[in-house]
Symmetry: D2
Subunit: 380 residues, 4 copies
């Protein structure tokens, strides 16, 4: 009989849905030692949170996250609300002895994140941040390849995360579905929202970053705020690019924007090593491109690997070779690994400290964009 | 309050899993008028069916499908067991007044399928066959494009379904996980298993097929049978290719094999019309290739469409633009449409009669492979 | 000092240009033992043939091919005129003791081709047919791979040649630039023009074809004839598809059409062997797709090989790795190999006899399309 | 009767071959007003220059470029020798009243290039620099699209030029075929050799660059020098990446390396505009990727354009739709345009001044890599 793990979710937006689905699906497809129970979901709008609870099978609702955190029957508080709420909720939850899982970025800036790490470590509660892309099977596979030394010395890392959904100047900022454009809520624009993903993956795969030089731009300077109804200055970065040097001596370029026509969520990265190179692309997330220089010269080429076989990470738990999985499965894998980690006493990564490490990079990036200088990155 | 629909599933293999997942996920992501209740699952091995029931949340088990069919608390019998069981179960279920949904192909041959159609139509029970690929969003989208006349007169249709999993002559035939290689159970090899998919899609998109000329081959002539332990003659077709003429005057080529190295489940098809052409590929099922000759000449090219936007079929119910879904979602969509069809009194397609139409084609194909002549296709 | 080889070209159309370019470029890029001298070009229109000669540096012109054949200073007669002229010119040239190179298809049908073979073999003159695609480096490379046994036993061959330039019914037939639509001149439609290419490559790579079953279609039944100005029945096949069995036991599908929107000259073929598969595409002719099942499972994938390295066929004579060559280079390679073959006493293939072998297949295909039966293929 | 233009070529390496081929092929495929005559080729090694002259049909040779420059029968001096010779030869040739065409980069640095511009402008001689990629048909086409306003306001430009040929530390530097690794001869590493191409295209398409911040790296610190036989410090940059701001407000990233496994000459660039985006890739140079947001939403996607039609730049002069051209054709186009420009009195771009503008950028890039600061770019 599996142990039950009572979940209390905060937030019912896009991320509330992906997390809920992950909690439900994980035990169906993975032989996990805990069964997540959807105990409660919390959000301010009672009608909408009721509808959400009904749809997903949450047993109860709350409209104040403090009430949720206080509940005895909640084992784990999962934070899927906007960035400006992360720190306060996470700290309270940890202090109340709850496990805490938090949507990325960990917080609006490293100062907030540091407090979250302190709270979680003081309380010694299991904690995690949802950098889900680590657990796309193709990405997990390439992590294995790197760890096995198949790439050899790494020379280059390049990543980008390109979108095109904010080009229209008619798009308002702030409020329902648009808080990512409101700097007070989000903390930053593409840097915290998109580059944070790129940085988390990069440091997981290639180690720490020493220093960066960056530029940012806000193409649309003013937008109507959805809540105030007024034209207000836009405070977020619409685009950000930076150069970086990793501690292992490799060079990197990172870029993100919401002004790249034709790209909806084009997160790609490539790593060039002495012996082999790899490339991955979120728009075809079930594929891995791999070039191995040790192949015979005449027939050397980039291998287009359809990551759907049983000997590839996570895939024996899904369908049969050739049948692809999608975006939400990366969250399911994160839940499966988290639950297994609980049982093993080996907490699944990334945890709050990893989230903080990423925030140190994004802070340095934003600082460099202002100072117009290379900035060193603080290590977590 | 949604009405409940009590499901009784027969079979717990690969298809038992996809169907169960679809019943569970459909009401989470689609606003359907019925809520499927996993009432019972049936298979001969009691231990394994218990484990399956526990994993998926089925309320009860049966080890004899006749008992399942007799149960008053079952509204719908879903058949996910091997092909040789389809007809008997479906006919009994329909006769018992149950709705019936049956995995494809409808049966081992058209003679069996005809009886199933008769039974379902006599009993006037809602019925469906799981040709799931119609509901991959990219495929549904191209159906819309065809229906809107965007392609104009159709000249060519070509489809293939290529796999490579039976090349080794050491692979046994028959029994657990391998009944698809046993002609007595499966009815045929790639023709019923894979080409049936191609034919269902083709007739849905391009109308009926008038005649065919075919060739089949069995590359490995003898295999050890898993159940008897003896080397036995292989009765299935390992590969099959045929030429066809559609009633609308277009020409077609179809091919399937399990001996195409490098292809796991490469179902592709292309349609060439007077004004536009389209191409789809199961290995990247979230993409549609579309060429429109009416685009300006200098910048005319195949459009690689990432089918993940809210204005594309089914996609507003999933994530956000750029984030892909996978294989199992096509089954979820089928359940959603089936439930909606129940409420609307407009049964969702494909139904048993459509399944029979496909079986008439596969029968003609297998007949032609023997007769070495063009054979006419019976119309359903 | 290189020996000179005096060329007499017949025809100044598309193929007259590719051949002329090949004669000129071959000695620049390949260390060939003969230097082709552009001695004379022949065509009926004196003004146009003069302009052509001036452009390409031909020393003289003729307006009657018989005069060209009679000239003492011509060593090799190269035939680039329409199909209906091939046999007569080639036979006369061979009888006059000239080497003969002839554009494909060798003739309008095998009966004509047989006479050409007889003439060339009786006269013991070097002869060749311009099936240029054998000498695209990617294609030559895959021939090497097959000959080395890298694919193992071959199960499947599939080829297609798709175009879209005759869809408009306003396009006239016959005459300048359009003789390929005039059955009296061309002999057949896509079968002789396009499938002949597919068949030549296929038999070179995979051996002889035993039997075929085919269908053809003429979508536009009448077109205005450019020379007569009248609407006339269209005699060519607009589209043709056939199934085939090779002598080595492999199965094949072939298809060609000029009614496939979006494809200009999409000649593709794929071969599936026991150990490996290969795919090639004329639209990206500098690339070879290669899948090797012996690669480690986790990182197995189709290799996209950019055929531009010095260890790949012909490429050390061109630029540097990464820089692609184009269509016309295949003709240059054919000239280089032909000239080397002359010096070595090992005539370069394909020769007239190979051309005849292909015509036997196209004849059987056209016969099957009429008889609606499988037809055996005569062997050359 | 065409006027003759007497060419005197300096250098017989890789670029000597591409230029010679271009001079020969241009009048065969384009109706140009001048016929280039291969009058003389010059290099220090008499035997090798003789062999080169014989192969390409140069009428005479020189072993001292000063003698070539002094010859009365030379109209145009074409410089295809290493970078350290460009300035001296070009200045002398211009001063002698010759037209001058010079391989890129114009010189080792802007200081040298400024003198070349001054010399050419003082002498009022036609001059050009061989940034050949402007005349790849796909690139020329996208220039047209930009000029027509199809992209609208430009937000982003990103370019990379990735190679992998110097990863081995056993590769010597300097001397025959390897002067690009010798900083004294080349001036810089990938910055002048590869990024210069990227920058020339970028400024042609997107206007001037205002400022840059860069990083460079030399991965292999010492290599044996081919001429001295000794291990010597490597002075070139093996890799370089920079961020840039264009005068039109768009942001850019540029990267080049010779340490990117799997890439031979992967020059790619992408431009994101308000309405449309474009992408091009040297490894498939005959293709253009184009995304137009104004296409209907459901069927919006990146168009993969096979640039081989008669209505696309330069292509009506080559073969037929679907048949691709290669690398060397870009040089042929440059000669054709240069000759036409001579007749029209509208000199073809890029000229020396354009070459200098690029050198101002590469100088600023290298300066920034040292200063670790943003550097302003001088305007030509």
């Amino acid at each position: 009989m599996k142990k039950k793990l009572n979940i209390g979710l905060v937030g019912y937006g896009f991320m509330g849905r992906t997390h809920s689905n992950a909690f439900v699906q994980a035990p169906r497809f993975f032989d996990v030692p805990y069964e997540p129970i959807l105990k409660a979901v919390c959000a301010r709008n009672a009608d909408r949170v009721k509808a959400f609870a009904s749809n997903w099978g949450y047993e109860s609702i709350e409209t104040d996250w403090r009430a949720l955190v206080d509940r005895k029957d909640i084992d784990l508080v999962d934070i899927a609300s906007p960035n400006d709420t992360h720190a306060e909720i996470a700290i309270a939850a940890a202090s109340a002895g709850k496990m805490v899982t938090c949507e990325k970025p960990l917080a609006r800036n490293a100062a907030e994140s540091e407090k979250m790490v302190t709270a979680a470590e003081s309380a010694r509660v299991p904690n995690a941040v949802w950098y889900n892309y680590r657990r796309v099977p193709a990405v997990t596979l390439l992590k294995q390849l790197i760890d096995e030394g198949k790439l050899g010395r790494i020379f280059h890392y390049r990543a980008q995360f390109l979108q095109d959904w904010t080009i229209s100047s008619d798009l308002p900022q702030g409020g329902e579905g648009l808080w990512r454009l409101d700097v007070a809520v989000a903390g930053s624009g593409v840097t915290g929202d998109l580059l944070a993903h790129c940085i988390d993956t990069a440091m997981w795969l290639n180690g720490t970053i020493d220093k960066v030089t960056a530029m940012t731009e806000t193409f649309v300077k003013e937008r109507k705020h959805q809540l105030t109804g007024k034209m207000e200055k836009v405070g977020i970065d619409d685009a950000c690019a930076f150069l970086a040097r990793f501690s292992n001596g490799s060079l990197a370029t990172f870029e993100s924007t919401r002004y790249a026509r034709g790209h909806k969520a084009l997160y790609t990265f490539e790593i060039n090593g002495e012996h082999a190179s790899i490339f991955w692309d979120l728009h075809d997330l079930h594929r891995l491109q791999y070039f191995d220089h040790r192949d015979e010269g005449r027939v050397r080429g980039w291998r287009n690997i359809h990551v759907s076989d049983g000997d590839q990470p996570y895939m024996k738990n899904w369908w049969v070779p050739g049948l692809q999985i999608g975006y939400e499965h990366s969250f399911v894998h994160q839940v499966a690994d988290f639950l297994q980690g609980l049982a093993d006493g080996k907490p699944a990564k990334p945890d709050f400290k990893d989230g903080l490490a990423t925030d140190y990079v994004t802070d340095a990036v934003l600082k460099s964009a202002k100072s117009q200088k290379w900035e060193n990155v603080k290590k977590a």
